[in-house]
């Protein structure tokens, strides 16, 4: 059962030496942090490593959390920087982070994935599949906006960008997601026929 205390109260208890309070904080945010890490890493094991690293980093710097922004905004900024470092280390990103070709391979793999189970797939499956095919930045912005309860300004703080840039990126990301979703559904319809 999760704690009913607010994030700030749990942080205060953690700083007072109660590690159980921090465990509650981890339980509360682990799904979202993990999902966000998945948007960058694309592989479960890597995403879990990133997410774990983020919570450990957050614990170490908890005393420096000023409380001016939401705890989640602060935490997601850690997820973003940790994920970017991870991608750089894996040599997936740097110059090619905005290069759609990098993810063609992922796209092809995802399209061919598990064709025999097509009838069991829900619309949410196709949505997740389409998100996986997006660029990491686009996928992260969509996830933060729709599931992270973050405003455009908060996303801008978390990703270290201007709010207007985030707004433009969100429009483009939604457009790309819509196209990919339609393409995947058409592909699936052909498979069923």
């Amino acid at each position: 059962m999760q704690s009913k205390l607010s994030d700030i109260e749990l942080i205060q208890q953690t700083l007072a030496g109660d590690q159980g309070a921090y465990a509650d904080l981890v339980k509360r945010h682990q799904r979202f942090v993990f999902t966000l890490a998945m948007r960058f890493a694309k592989v479960r094991e890597d995403a879990e490593e990133i997410a774990q690293d983020c919570f450990i980093k957050a614990f170490r710097s908890l005393a420096s959390f000023q409380g001016q922004a939401k705890f989640t905004t602060w935490l997601y900024s850690i997820v973003y920087t940790t994920s970017m470092t991870f991608l750089r280390k894996k040599r997936v990103a740097t110059d090619s982070i905005d290069d759609e070709n990098t993810f063609i391979q992922v796209e092809e793999t995802a399209s061919a994935y598990d064709i025999n189970n097509a009838e069991n797939r829900s619309r949410s499956f196709y949505l997740n599949q389409a998100i996986e095919q997006l660029l990491p930045d686009d996928a992260a912005i969509i996830t933060l906006f729709y599931k992270g309860e973050q405003s455009l300004e908060e996303i801008a703080v978390a990703l270290g960008m201007e709010a207007n840039t985030i707004k433009v990126k969100l429009f483009r990301a939604r457009q790309r997601l819509k196209e990919k979703l339609e393409r995947n559904l058409k592909h699936e319809a052909r498979e069923l026929i």
């Binding site: 921090y22 993990f34 999902t35 998945m38 995403a47 774990q52 450990i56 429009f171």
Partner: protein, 165 residues
């Protein structure tokens, strides 16, 4: 960003002013193309909002807390030492050093002759013959030099580790 989709996304996200909102509402109500697009985008918006989050492994929280606990086991050894103990040890060594200096100066033969020093503290300093204690002093100095080098080496290694991290 002024095509129909951008305008409608702005409207759906609630990023419009009250006046813009009113204008777009009228457009949706009166223009068939806007109405159809609005419904299409709203459907997408609802789908995006209903996306499911991924679930990490069952042991995720445990793993995180285990790393934190392991780190904290090491920290208290450094962090929980009472500063008063450190201060006490410092004072003890300072007093010892001062006493040693007093003894040394009190027994030092400045003019080649022994100069008894009366500290007016009601006692006379003990007469230590340094010529007899020379091997002891040399051994003590040698030990100090080795200890100093060892500590300097430890400090350099620690610095190197911090730099690598």
């Amino acid at each position: 960003m002024n095509n129909m989709e951008d305008i409608l996304w702005n409207y759906i996200d609630g990023n419009c002013t009250a006046e813009e909102q009113k204008t777009i509402s009228n457009l949706i109500a009166g223009d068939e193309a806007y109405r159809l697009k609005y419904h299409e985008l709203m459907k997408l918006n609802n789908e995006f909002a209903a996306m499911e989050l991924d679930e990490p492994s069952m042991a995720f929280t445990y793993n995180v807390m285990e790393v934190i606990r392991t780190e904290n086991v090491h920290v208290p050894l450094k962090a929980t030492i009472n500063k008063r103990i450190i201060l006490g040890i410092t004072i003890f060594f300072i007093l010892t050093l001062v006493a040693l200096l007093v003894v040394v100066f009190a027994n030092f033969n400045w003019a080649g002759q022994k100069a008894p020093v009366n500290l007016s503290l009601g006692f006379t300093m003990p007469d230590i013959n340094f010529s007899k204690a020379r091997p002891l002093l040399e051994g003590f100095l040698f030990f100090d030099v080795v200890l100093g080098l060892y500590l300097f080496d430890t400090w350099l290694r620690r610095k190197k580790l911090v730099k690598q991290a």
